[in-house]
Each structure stands twice: as structure tokens, then as C-alpha cells.
Amino acid sequence: MFLAWKEMRYAKLRYALIIGIMILVAYVVFMLSGLASGLANGHKKAISDWGSSTIVLSADSNKVASASVLKRADLNRAKTANTNKAAVGLFATAAQKSGSKTKTNVAIFGAQKRSFVVPKIIKGRLYQNAHEIIISKNLSDEGYHIGDQIKLASMTHKFKIVGITKATTYSVEPVIYLNLDAFTTLKYGSQPFSSASQKPISLIAIKHKTPKQVTVTTGTSDTKVAKMSTATLIQNLPGFSAEKITLNTMIDFLFIVVAAIVGIFLYVMTLQKTVLFGVLKAQGVRTRYLVGTIVSQSFIVGAAGVILAFILGYLTSLILPEAMPFTIDGMQWLSDGLILILVSIVGGLFSIRTVTKVDPINAIGGE
């Protein structure tokens, strides 16, 4: 480390430059990563907020929640404690405030008011009947307030906002919760059903410590169901995987760029030092020490760049517009940062062969 530090101090400008480049690339990685997390959250947050382990859809839905249709009675087929299962209706539509022309796209979840999927109220109260709804904080930020009457879809009757939950999204839209009857009328209008238990829902969410133990019985006349983990459901949200793969591929590409930049830089620095390395070897300095110097330098460059980019990325996140889907996922940033440091060390390793090949004999008699 001694030689590594001293050389960096001496050639300040060069190393400042490479650290500068490292900061920029790491910064782009963190921003892309924040965007990836933000977008992913935008798609899935309402669902991951449930804290469910398992989701049951109709088998023909091909794991797409919005295409799944079950019946309220199907809830009884899931063998687990009643408090741990919830029938959920899912519907995407537009909301419009009385007296306002603007419409806002929203994701609507229908659920029994006592079921575990209903988020905590941070203001107001829970809905008590099919005419009351609760909205997420991010929707209230768009000018929807407790007490407002709003129009949903093409319904003629209005819904009253009675409570606000913390900000959340599904399919990158703000969220409204209402009861199952309200959901049924919203989605199916006045279509008659033979009994309440025959009314449709979209899915069943189940919370269980050991998801494998959850079973769903299937009688001969029952709809075929597909049981999956909540993570699988999220992976299959429309657009979710495609966006994630796109951004992650860009990030992976940047990892390679970092290895190349640091590798080339240290390789050039090494080439300029071959005579010096020859002299040091002649003086009895071991190759291992010289290699250690280069590896330390690649580590210092990587770590300094990552730490500074970390700070820069955090500061940027404070000034990003609300509408931008950007989330700092600490673990994700940490792992991106560690990979960046790792690949810059990999870049440093390119020079090892050159150092090993330096023959100390050239130190003597060379003009």
C-alpha cells in the first residue's frame, strides 16, 4: 500500500482523472440502478406491501394478475387460517373529481375491509360501505382530498374519499382500495350473479410462513387455479421483467466498461514503470509486492470512485422530480458498489503479467 499511495500522491492529476472517470461511470450505474428499483417499485409496490407469500390465480391467466378471474367462494378452497387469506379484485381505470375535467389513471383493489391486504390508514378512516374508498398518498397529492366525491370508470354514482394510505403504486399508477361489492359493480356493472359467493374476484393473496404447506383444493366443478409465490406474480407483471432486463443489461455493460477503463489506465501506468520495476526487482523487491501495489491502486481507484458516486447519487436523488420513478435500494446500491470495486480490481489484474515478465537484468547495463 505504501508505494501505491505514494505514487498516487505524486501523480495526483492522473489518478484524480481516473478516479473522476470512475465516479462518472459509478454515478451512471447508481442512477440506472435507482431508476430500475424505482420502476420496479412503481409496478409492484402495492403488491409487495401486502407482505403475502403466495398468490392464487386462475390457471388460464398465464400468471398475469389482471387476466385472472376467480369467485369469492374460491377463498374457501385455500387451506389456511382465515386471517391469512384475502380475496382481491383488481381493476385499472381512471378517476375524475366532481367538477374537474382532468382524469387520473388509477389502479383499483377491491378487498374486504378487514383483510390483511388493506394498507394502513394514515389519515381519515377505512371504507365502511360500497360507496366509500381510500386512496394512496400519491393520489391525494394530485388534488384528491378526504370528503371529495369522485367518479370512477363510467359509473354514474360517485365514490367518497374517506381515508388516505401511504404512497404506493401498481403498474406505475396510484392506488385506490374499496370493498369487494364496490369492485364488482365497478368491473361488472349491473350484471346479475346467482349469489354473493359467485361474484368474481381476481386473485387470492395468502400470507404463510411456510408457503409450501398452503394447499388449494380442486373439486371437479372448480375453476383450475395456479398457485405461485408473490415474487413469481411480480416477475410476470406486464413490463416488469422487460424494463428490469433492459436497465440491468446497461448496468452490466458498465461493469465491463469499468474493468476496461481501469485495466487500460493501470496497464499504461505499468508500462511506463517497467524500468523502475526492473530496478526494484534487482534490489530484491519481490514481484508479489509490486503486484500488490497495482492491485491496491485499482482498489483505491474503484473504492474512491464508488464512495464519491454514492454521495453524488444520493444528493441527486434529493432533487429529482417527484414524478420520476427513482428509489434508492440500499442493498442494491451496496451490491452494485461492491461489483464496481471488484471489476476495477479485475482491471488491475490485467497488468500482473507485465509486472511478472519484467526482467531485473535490464536494470544493469541498460542505457
Binding site: 505514494k6 501523480a11 530496478v279 530484491g284 519481490r286 544493469i364
Partner: protein, 223 residues
């Protein structure tokens, strides 16, 4: 007296067949602690080859070479590197200083590698070579003569038994060249070191205890 470096019947050939070159032929040489020996010869006579073999940087074709009674040509690369670090000091033509270390840090590096404090010895050397005031300077801020004096201190600081100096005066004007040679002679005597200086400049030999000449790879005592 006990020889600290002893070379017997050293041959060194480069190449094979009609491109074969005899760089060293029948070289016998020995030096004791406290001796300052010069080897003079024209360009291409084998001086550098002699020094690299004596310093364990390449192996002879045949013959034996003992440093403190150890045949270094029989050791593996790692052990030879260790011997170079512990028992040999090199002083090179231009400079063997590290450009990005201040003078005091050149010694700090040796201390770190040796894993022991050399502070007292370094202070003594800096004083004796009159370069105490250069501690905080980088090599590029030193004159040629100052640089060689620091290089001498660097070579001596780990207390080696043998110092190999490869044309240490080549890059100096004659006034500073003489000064450096006088210092080498004095350090050999004061510090009880065996110092071998190779040069093509006969004027540099007058402070030596012994002068060899080398021609076409054959070493002989100068008359």
C-alpha cells in the same frame, strides 16, 4: 581475510553455434569486506555481464559464485531475490531511486520491506554523505551528484555485505564523479563493505584498493 564474494572459473556464453558469444571466460575474482575494487574495460568487454552474474540477476554457464559462502546460482529465484535484498546493494548508472518517493521515503520503503527500523543507520548515512537536508525532496529536484549520493545511502541502508556499482559516475561531470568515487572508497573502509565498481573511465580508479581490467570477457589484475 574472508572473501564475501568469490567467483571461480566463471564462463558465460550467449547464443549457440556460429552466433555464440563468450561474454565471460575463466573469470576468477574475490573481494573481502572493507575493500573497494574497480573493474575497468571498454564497452562490450563484459562488465555488465560480470555484475549481473555477481548480483544473481542471471546465471553463469559454468563456474561457482559464493556470496558469504552460499552458492547463489544454486538457489531458486525467490531465495536469490531475498539474498539481493539482504546482502547486496546496487548503485546504477543514472539512478536507482524511485521517482515518486521523497528521499526519506526511499529509506522508509526499505524499512517496510525489511520489517525493521533502520532509522539510526539511515541518519548516520545521511550525515556521513552530507545529504540530511535533502530528505524532503523528490529525486527530480536533486542534482546528478546529490542523486548518486542518495543512491549510495539507499544501497547501504539495509547493511548489505556487497555493493555492486554499475558505472555510477557515467552521468556526472568529472568533479562530481571524483566526489562520488571518493565517497564509495570511504564507505567501503568506514563501513567495512565490499564495494565493486565497474567503469570504462580509468581516471576513476585511483582511490581503489585493487584495479582489475576486463577485455573480451577476460578479467585480470591491472599492473
Amino acid at each position: 581475510m574472508d572473501a564475501v564474494l568469490e567467483m571461480t572459473n566463471i564462463q558465460k556464453k550467449f547464443g549457440t553455434g556460429h552466433t555464440e558469444v563468450d561474454a565471460l571466460t575463466d573469470v576468477n575474482f574475490s573481494i573481502n569486506a572493507g575493500q573497494f575494487v574497480s573493474i575497468v574495460g571498454p564497452s562490450g568487454s563484459g562488465k555488465s555481464t560480470f555484475l549481473t552474474i555477481a548480483g544473481g540477476l542471471q546465471r553463469q554457464t559454468s563456474g561457482e559464485i559464493l556470496i558469504n559462502h552460499t552458492d547463489i546460482s544454486k538457489l531458486n529465484e525467490k531465495k536469490r531475490t531475498q539474498i539481493r535484498f539482504d546482502q547486496l546493494g546496487f548503485i546504477l548508472q543514472s539512478s536507482n531511486l524511485i521517482p515518486f518517493l521523497k528521499v526519506s521515503e526511499q529509506f522508509a520503503l526499505v524499512e517496510k520491506l525489511a520489517k525493521k527500523s533502520l532509522q539510526e543507520r539511515v541518519d548516520m548515512l545521511l550525515k556521513s554523505l552530507d545529504i540530511e537536508n535533502l530528505k524532503a525532496k523528490y529525486p527530480k529536484e536533486l542534482s546528478g551528484g546529490e542523486r548518486q549520493r542518495v543512491a549510495i545511502a539507499r544501497a547501504l541502508c539495509n547493511d548489505p555485505s556487497v555493493i555492486l556499482a554499475d558505472e555510477p559516475t557515467a552521468s556526472l561531470d568529472s568533479k562530481h564523479a571524483f566526489e562520488v568515487v571518493k565517497i564509495l572508497a570511504r564507505e567501503a573502509h568506514d563501513q567495512n563493505k565490499a564495494i565493486i565498481m565497474v567503469t570504462h573511465d580509468e581516471r576513476m580508479t585511483k582511490w581503489s584498493d585493487q584495479v582489475y581490467q576486463i577485455e573480451d570477457g577476460r578479467l585480470s589484475l591491472a599492473e
